[in-house]
């Protein structure tokens, strides 16, 4: 074998603390190394050209590049060696930036370590084999999980491009948080007026199949060919028969049910159509409140339903769909603010969340758009808004900024004035964060035109006194203590990943951060991709964001899926497990452990043996580690290759 070694300076990123020329000189003496040099930027065009030229000039049959993380540039260099006529797997990368230059300052130690890593890469490369991917057909259908504004956008864009779309929403209606909002910043236009038509489009689009009140049960398969099992939750109403007339909701005698859509502002019935513009506009029974279930008798809705749609015995049912790509758009939920004792820990009815306030402001809300405080139904005069409740607060495990609260608080202060002209709003804030088109102007307007009083400081205590809530805080700009006697306190509660997001991530085999937000493939260059091929992200499930950004990301995710599924065939990754039949004793341990069910038992002259289903194997290597015989090996990461690396490192 003739190996070429290229030690990248990465400008001064590596060369600053590693003697690159020295490493190249050492590498020249490693076994099979025919050519070795250092190079300024290996990934840049001149760098890639130099590699290609060296391959041709020196008849190289394998290449090692020592530079940055393979995460970023392994594909780049693989393509480069391929352009020079080599198989792309005759390439190895040593990470001497993240693993060496960025983590130590000692030039000698770094140079030494870099040389060791290159020695390992060379040792492995000597055992590399040419691998060729196989191609397989794709299913031109996409699954969108979550029907908030981001998921709706992704679904519509993908469907308009001709793809079949399956949209799964866990609530009985799509719309997400935006459907609950009254108006939206910075234009203060009606939320349901702009979202409603989009929701109708989803319902009417011939390419979109909507499963509301449904969740993803399991996902198997791989990019291009996922099999998804969807659980349709028993709504106790046959949606094929339900016309959405709403008679049942009028007659239902159980009138104390928790109203999830209205965030618990006022009760609702046990059979619900969540809101007038719901899509689909179908009724569903909430069993925990339904008398038929809690008391064993009632049956009122079944009696009044003109189409006989009520079915108390309904069970969850399942549908299986085959899709080629998946967009996760599960959004966010508000954090549980009652951990804050200083705000009353949930004991004072007139301390409410921002989302509850949206429902009070909304004309379609339980108060018909008249702002009434929960305790006595009185119209408030003095309204205090507290920002950053559960945002930027490491003490409750939420160090991040929720991003949209500054803006919606300003919006809500404006709307308060619109609803109650003689009201006065007070906003306790930490900083005002309003980057974005027209955003800063908006937060000025609320102070200048609407006379909202902005107080920079945190609230230390709220206590009730003579029908009011006394809000005590510090004004850090004035250096004084302030007390405001409020009629209503609105907490700008921060967001967190949607409940159940980590569990869904496990099903999709994507990563999530410590807060449950899904991890993008690269924070800058792959904001909608994940590290699982074929799975994309849209909206605030990836990190909290406002509507414009959620919509943009929905479109971006759709574009990625459209691109992926525009191909008829995809290439499979050849870095997968393979069984050496002569060594396999047919013990079946690999079959048991494979998380992807990629191994099957075959019969070889009456003896059981293992066989890997190539397109299903993800190359995770669990089987490899389990097989006692070493009979199942991961191509490109065989035991021998790993041993060679270990030997190279642990020479005695």
């Amino acid at each position: 074998m003739r190996i070429g070694v290229f030690i990248c300076h990465c400008g001064s990123n590596i060369a600053g603390t590693v003697d690159c020329a020295g490493v190249a000189a050492q590498a020249a003496r490693f076994p099979d190394v025919a050519y070795s040099t250092d190079i300024m930027y290996a990934c840049a065009e001149p760098g890639q050209d130099a590699i290609i030229e060296a391959i041709r000039e020196h008849g190289l049959t394998g290449v090692v590049v020592a530079s940055c993380t393979p995460r970023m540039h392994e594909p780049t260099f693989r393509r480069a060696v391929e352009r020079a006529g080599l198989n792309r797997y005759m390439f190895e990368m040593a990470n001497i930036r993240e693993h060496v230059s960025w983590i130590g300052k000692d030039m000698d130690a770094n140079t030494n370590k870099a040389a060791e890593l290159v020695r390992m890469a060379v040792a492995k490369l000597r055992l590399n084999r040419e691998l060729t991917p196989k191609s397989f057909p794709v299913t031109k259908r996409v699954l969108v999980i979550g029907g908030g504004v981001a998921g709706i956008q992704a679904a519509l864009d993908a469907a308009d491009a001709g793809l079949e779309v399956v949209l799964v929403e866990k609530e009985p209606s799509i719309g997400g948080k935006m459907a609950k909002l009254d108006k939206t910043f910075p234009t203060v236009d009606c939320s349901s007026c702009i979202l409603g038509p989009r929701m109708v489009d989803v319902a009417q689009h011939p390419k979109i199949t909507l499963y509301a009140a449904a969740e993803v049960e399991s996902v198997s398969g791989y990019v291009g060919n996922f099999s998804v099992r969807i659980r349709k939750k028993a709504t106790c109403v046959d949606w094929d028969k339900c016309t959405g007339c709403g008679l049942c909701t009028e007659k239902c005698p159980s009138r104390k049910s928790y109203d999830r859509f209205n965030e618990g502002v006022g009760p609702t019935t046990a059979i619900i159509i969540p809101f007038p513009q719901a899509i689909p506009k179908k009724a569903s029974i909430e069993r925990e409140f339904c008398r038929q279930f809690t008391r064993g008798k009632c049956g009122v809705c079944a009696k009044v339903c003109p189409t006989g749609a009520i079915d108390y015995d309904m069970q969850d049912s399942f549908v299986e769909v085959e899709v080629g790509g998946i967009v996760a758009a599960t959004g966010y939920d508000l954090m549980d603010w009652t951990v804050y004792e200083e705000y009353g820990g949930g004991r004072y009815p007139d301390v409410i969340t921002s989302l509850q306030y949206e429902r009070l402001l909304s004309a379609s809300g339980p108060t018909g758009g008249h702002v009434r405080r929960p305790s006595d139904g009185a119209e408030p005069r003095d309204v205090v808004f507290i920002q950053c409740v559960g945002s930027r607060d490491p003490s409750v495990g939420r160090p991040y900024c929720s991003g949209f609260c500054c803006m919606y608080t300003a919006k809500q202060a404006i709307l308060t004035k619109d609803h109650i002209p003689d009201s006065q709003s007070y906003v306790f804030y930490m900083d005002i964060r309003s980057p974005g088109k027209g955003y800063d102007e908006f937060t000025r307007r609320v102070q200048e035109e609407y006379q909202a009083q902005y107080i920079r400081g945190r609230v230390s205590r709220i206590y009730p006194s003579r029908g009011k809530l006394v809000v005590c805080g510090a004004d850090t700009l004035m250096g004084t203590q302030v007390e405001v006697a409020a009629d209503l306190v609105v907490l700008a509660v921060g967001g967190e990943a949607a409940h159940g997001a980590p569990q869904l991530a496990e099903k999709l085999r994507i990563s999530y951060d410590q807060y449950g937000f899904f991890m993008e493939g690269h924070p800058k260059l792959k904001p909608v991709e994940t590290n699982t091929a074929g799975v994309f992200l849209a909206g605030s499930c990836q990190g909290l964001k406002d509507i414009p950004s959620s919509v943009a990301q929905g479109s971006a995710a759709a574009a990625k899926v459209i691109g992926l599924l525009s191909r008829d065939m995809l290439e499979s990754d050849p870095q997968i497990a393979q069984v050496t039949v002569s060594r396999c004793i047919g013990c079946g341990k690999c079959i048991e452990v494979c998380p992807f069910k990629a191994i099957q038992e075959i019969d070889l002259r009456g003896q059981p043996r293992a066989e890997v289903i190539e397109t299903v194997c993800q190359g995770c290597g669990v089987c490899n580690a389990t097989c006692p015989q070493g009979a199942i090996q991961l191509s490109h990461f065989t035991d021998n290759q790993i041993l060679a690396e270990v030997e190279a490192l642990c020479r005695f």
């Binding site: 980590p502 013990c587 452990v593 015989q629 021998n640």
Partner: protein
């Protein structure tokens, strides 16, 4: 002995339905029985089962997969059979398991040491059990030893002296000797600093002659001629004569047995150099027990934890949900 005769009768009755019954018969010297493979009921009279029936007959079962085999088992042997069943290495319907109450087995080494001033094991004319003692017929007449002085260590720790899941159980089940902490000795050993323990293993392993008797005696070492110890592809172990490769092999053996080893002790007994290799395996068994609440070869509904894949282990909290 009554039990032995009952077992002989049981074996005679069962044999017509079976290809072979594995038990014990006369061994190389009076202190040790040897495995016996009975195919003919007429030979059943030489069958033995008791204090000297040390070998674990489960060792032979995977080779016979597909044939109808009867097997006599002590408590520990039964666990090996159980684990083989769980791993699908033998099939329940092929087996006829005959259990009997085990009162422990002899550690021939301990006995040889105790009689050293009288004679060698080979000079003993006969040995028999008598209650809590054994009576030995030496060149200079008979003498007896207390069973507890010559019993194998593993039997003192044993919590499962009665074969579970036997098709036939001959005799009365007995209670374990003590409810002691199976791993007390190990815990004491693990108190020592790492360097000291490493030095211990280096010293012990320096005696290893790489005969692989430990591996060959293990009923759960099922790779046989495909063992990584001798394979050249992948080339895990070199032929170099050094402690490194010897210890490496033991560690591979122990990790291949993690969650599978039943502590039958055959590996350690087989070692001609007296290396305490069981200790390594027990160290892993203990970890498996604490991490996965799993004991090998007992629960036929259980799943060997390292032979399954699950996203969440209830006892290993990686996430807070």
């Amino acid at each position: 002995m009554a039990i032995e005769q009952e077992l002989q009768a049981a074996v005679k009755a069962a044999l017509p339905e079976l290809d072979c019954i594995i038990g014990w018969g006369p061994g190389p010297d009076a202190l040790r029985d040897a495995p016996l493979f009975l195919r003919d009921a007429a030979d059943a009279d030489v069958l033995r089962a008791g204090f000297f029936s040390v070998n674990n007959p489960a060792l032979f079962l995977p080779e016979y997969k597909g044939r109808k085999i009867g097997v006599l088992v002590k408590g520990c042997d039964a666990r090996s059979v159980g684990q083989l069943l769980l791993e699908g290495l033998v099939r329940r319907e092929d087996l006829f398991v005959i259990g009997f109450p085990c009162s422990g087995v002899i550690d021939a080494g301990k006995a040889a040491a105790l009689i050293a001033d009288r004679c060698e094991a080979g000079e003993l004319r006969s040995v028999r059990e008598q209650g809590d003692s054994i009576v030995l017929e030496g060149p200079d007449g008979a003498f007896s030893l207390a069973k507890k002085d010559v019993r194998a260590d593993k039997c003192e720790r044993c919590l499962f002296p009665n074969a579970m899941d036997a098709d036939l159980f001959v005799g009365e089940k007995r209670a374990p000797f003590a409810e002691l902490d199976e791993y007390a000795d190990l815990a004491a050993f693990e108190q020592a600093p790492l360097e000291e323990r490493m030095a211990f293993w280096e010293k012990e392993m320096s005696r290893c002659i790489r005969c692989y008797a430990c591996r060959d005696a293990c009923p759960l070492c099922v790779c046989r001629d495909q063992c990584v110890a001798v394979a050249r592809d992948p080339h895990w172990l070199s032929q170099a004569d050094g402690i490194r490769d010897k210890l490496f092999f033991q560690i591979i053996h122990a990790s291949h047995l993690a969650g599978r080893c039943t502590g039958c002790g055959e590996c350690e007994r087989a070692c001609p150099m007296g290396i305490p290799v069981l200790l390594l395996k027990r160290a892993l068994s203990r970890r498996v027990e604490t991490l996965f609440a799993y004991r090998a070869g007992i629960d036929m509904q259980g799943r060997p934890p390292l032979l399954t894949f699950s996203l969440e282990e209830p006892r290993i909290k990686e996430r807070d949900w």
